[in-house]
Symmetry: C2
Subunit: 149 residues, 2 copies
């Protein structure tokens, strides 16, 4: 009715239900596993030479890709997985509980992970920033910053 859709149909626009996979490129999967599994506590969903798929709180999947291993398309019985690959320092954030920051500070200190910075957001919420072994900027964020969180 709005004329917003090309084609003149009245079909509603389909919707996205969230980000389910976040991909991060690392130089050494074992080193990254020591950080994300042993320190941050993620559970392994899939472990191949090409990638490590991790469950983040049973709600999201973090894909650690071995840098360079995914640049070509990958044929599978169910279809072709397109290639990709990035370099540099990525940023992503994990949701943590509103009262969890003292626990996280103690846990990270016990594991020898330095907190690079801490930010209190104007809307609410506080973030701790650490670096993973590849230098990616990893944020642990309590609720408040975003209207949806």
């Amino acid at each position: 009715m709005s004329g917003d859709d090309a084609g003149g149909t009245d079909a509603p626009r389909p919707t996205l239900d969230g980000v389910i996979e976040t991909g991060v490129y690392v130089d050494d999967l074992d080193r990254a596993r020591a950080f994300y599994v042993d320190v941050l506590g993620m559970a392994v969903l899939l472990d191949t030479p090409r990638l490590l798929a991790l469950s983040v709180g049973g709600r999201s999947v973090l894909l650690l890709f071995a840098r360079g291993a995914t640049s070509e398309s990958l044929p599978t019985p169910g279809g072709m997985v397109p290639g990709h690959g990035a370099s540099g320092v990525q940023h992503f954030a994990f949701a943590v509980g509103a009262t969890s920051l003292d626990g996280w500070r103690a846990h990270l200190a016990a594991r020898g992970v330095a907190i690079e910075s801490e930010v209190r957001w104007p809307r609410g919420g506080t973030s701790l920033y650490v670096r993973d072994p590849d230098g990616h900027s990893v944020e642990l964020m309590t609720p408040g910053l975003w209207a949806i969180y």
Copy 2:
């Protein structure tokens, strides 16, 4: 009790509740907005020259960073936001409903977005792969592939 934690405390390891922010680096924020907002239907949460923060289904935040604009640390009243920045082709996946793929195929075709590949996963679930204007590999995935989704 397990001795797994350094420091000898019995404090439980704090937990992560999921990925809340996924960062993607783009060459042109306006061009990326046309894809993620106008085609995929995301809602704008924050719009600055440095980044565009988008709500994905009210559950996740996609951060589109202007490439090069985030490499330096950013002082804010609440603390310093560490720098980051990546190049190349990233991969990430959005969750879509189990019966939504016909709608997505029609919608993408109407908007002139080519489906690069389609994969049926052994565990269940089907993925459509498209490219965003920067060439990032964007996946729309129905439930089934992962034990948690």
